[in-house]
């Protein structure tokens, strides 16, 4: 119960009105501040559903999501948007960059959503993050003019822009080769250690999962395994 940065309490998720699919069964799960967590489980087990609920993108059918000690149950859409903007960073399997903007502009986007205009300080910070993910050379490329790995790293840089407390990543390296995958996880670890950002990462890759502080396995919407190292 203590110092969880994000926590689900009694969360149920049921899809469909006539044919009901129960994706999550009465789930209770908390993640500690600064921890690096892997979520594993077979396809269709409910991992993405859980992550999206943790990220307030989806609402649970029953139960509550507590972020930073505050219940999100009764928050308005606008309040939830602000919460996502300030405390959460998302990395999805697909990068979802805005193809109309350059890498640097994409990285600045979360900042600009909050503040409108990007000042010099924020620009410097965006460049710094791009440096961190090794993209200083392509910062002015349009999102479409980068390789898959570069796009995914840009998406990671974007997730870091507002210095979120939590990064939620859903198979962030699903489309990348093993070398790029390694470098991205090294980067995650580095950010986790240097900035104390909490990571919750869905992965199919056992090798990756084993490097995490904690492995949670989901099976048919229930926790089947929870290993803390």
């Amino acid at each position: 119960m203590d110092n969880y940065v994000v926590e689900v309490k009694g969360v149920n998720k049921v899809y469909g009105k006539t044919i009901k699919t129960v994706a999550l069964h009465n789930l209770n799960l908390g993640f500690k501040t600064g921890s690096f967590n892997a979520i594993i489980g077979e396809s269709g087990s409910g991992k993405s559903t859980l992550l999206n609920i943790l990220g307030t993108l989806d609402r649970p059918t029953k139960g509550d999501v507590i972020i930073n000690g505050i219940s999100t149950k009764n928050m308005t859409k606008g309040r939830l948007s602000d919460l996502r903007n300030e405390t959460l960073g998302f990395v999805f399997q697909f990068h979802y960059l805005l193809p109309e903007f350059t890498a640097l502009e994409n990285v600045l986007m979360p900042y600009r959503i909050a503040n409108g205009k990007a000042d010099k300080k924020s620009r410097d910070r965006a460049r710094e993050i791009l440096n961190l993910v090794g993209l200083e050379k392509v910062e002015n490329n349009l999102a479409t003019n980068m390789s898959g790995g570069q796009q995914q790293r840009t998406a990671i840089a974007r997730a870091l822009m507002n210095q979120p407390k939590i990064i939620l990543a859903d198979e962030p390296t699903g489309n990348l080769d093993s070398q790029t995958t390694d470098s991205i996880y090294q980067l995650f670890r580095k950010i986790n250690q240097e900035l104390g950002t909490t990571f919750i990462v869905i992965t199919h890759d056992r090798r990756v999962a084993e490097k995490a502080d904690r492995i949670v396995e989901i099976l048919d919407g229930r926790i089947s395994l929870d290993i803390v190292k």
Partner: protein, 387 residues
């Protein structure tokens, strides 16, 4: 706002083909509006100008037949004060019927006298003299071209006039005029005010005060102002609109049909924009979804699409105004009468163009409303789930 504007701009830039097409659509709509609008207005202007441009548009005369306005200068002052912005070309006219006798023929004419300088405003007599000069002395007159031909008279001849009161007088023809209206050229004999006042024995009195107004279509309102100001039951105020009801109803019919055309053009433009933007919402749903996931509020996301509508409208209106003006210009330059003068004079009404452009911008923004609402309903989950 700035971010929404920038995103809107990038979205438009990224699909150049679509943007060009839709801008062209708006531009054509606006240019058709401007073209038809200025065509109709130009047509009406020239028609009205031909009808009343060289005629009095408001006339103040005594109620009683054959009575005179005695203190015409004071009355003119009062009239002018009724609406000094609109009233122009005031002229006092002394007139009366007479019979013209030559050695072998006679004709009924209307003898009219006014101060040549004041009459210049409405009748532009000095430009209409085709032979001789203005009649400046007593017992001098000028005569219409058609009348002079009919009676075989010319400059230097003397004529005799007889009033209904059987007073006779001899007059020297000093000039021939052409007012470009046959009925006037056949029946009017003009002279200076003193000569006519003396001959008709009106003393200082004049028959009527005539004037024009800046906005010919406001003549009835100005006439009303004058009536109120004069506050004199012995005087009647008439205006050209009362006497040209048929022409006016024709004009308003024209205006109404041009308005209809414009409304339909605008509706088709709006539908076009709405459908293209609706497609664009689908095309950009990934971007919108991720922006929302990153914390963009719904109204902001909608604003992106409203701004796209607005930008398209501004761009389309801009191009459309240019296109419309050049279309009107070409029409008036290349579509001409046999004598080379343009069939419809080139006429630019900036306020009308401004209104057309404004309506286009407003309509485009409004058309973006439906896509904008769809955007606010878009759930980022849909995008993220479906890749």
């Amino acid at each position: 706002m700035k971010l929404a504007f920038e995103i809107a701009l990038r979205f438009l830039k990224s699909s150049k083909g679509q943007t060009t097409l839709i801008v062209l659509g708006i531009a054509i709509g606006v240019s058709v509006q401007i073209f038809i609008g200025s065509l109709i207005t130009g047509l009406q202007k020239s028609l009205v100008d031909k009808t009343v441009g060289s005629a009095p548009q408001i006339t103040v005369s005594p109620q009683e037949d054959g009575a005179y306005i005695l203190d015409s200068q004071a009355e003119a002052k009062t009239i002018n004060a009724a609406n000094p912005e609109e009233i122009k070309n005031l002229v006092a006219v002394t007139q009366g019927p007479a019979i013209l006798n030559t050695s072998d023929e006679s004709a009924t004419i209307l003898l009219r006298g006014f101060d040549w300088e004041a009459a210049q405003g409405i009748y532009k007599i000095s430009d209409r003299i085709i032979k001789g000069a203005l009649a400046t002395n007593d017992n001098e007159i000028i005569m219409g071209e058609d009348l002079s031909k009919k009676l075989s008279l010319s400059v230097g001849d003397t004529i005799e006039l007889i009033t209904p009161a059987r007073k006779t007088g001899k007059f020297l023809i000093t000039g021939i005029f052409d007012l470009q209206v046959k009925s006037l050229n056949e029946s009017w004999i003009l002279s200076n005010d003193r000569a006519v006042q003396t001959f008709l024995e009106t003393g200082e009195g004049v028959s009527q005060i005539e004037m024009q107004v800046n906005d010919v279509f406001a003549a009835d309102e100005v006439a009303g102002d004058i009536k109120k100001r004069l506050n004199d039951d012995a005087l009647v105020v008439t205006n050209w609109k009362e006497e040209n009801a048929a022409l006016l109803s024709g004009l308003s019919g024209q205006t109404a049909s041009s308005l209809m055309i414009q409304v339909f053009v605008m509706i088709s433009v709006v539908l076009g924009i709405a459908s293209v933007l609706a497609i664009s919402v689908v095309q950009k749903s990934k971007q919108i979804g991720i922006l929302k996931a990153m914390g963009m509020h719904n109204p902001k996301a909608s604003l992106v699409f409203l701004l796209q509508g607005f930008l398209l409208g501004v761009l389309g209106a801009f191009v459309g105004v240019g296109l419309g003006i050049s279309l009107s210009w070409s029409f008036s330059t290349f579509v001409t009468n046999p004598d080379g003068s343009s069939l419809v004079p080139f006429f630019i009404d900036w306020s009308f163009i401004g209104i057309s452009a404004g309506i286009a911008v407003a309509a485009s923004t409004l058309a973006a409303l439906i896509p904008a609402i769809r955007v606010s309903r878009l759930d980022p989950m849909e995008v993220i789930k479906n890749g």
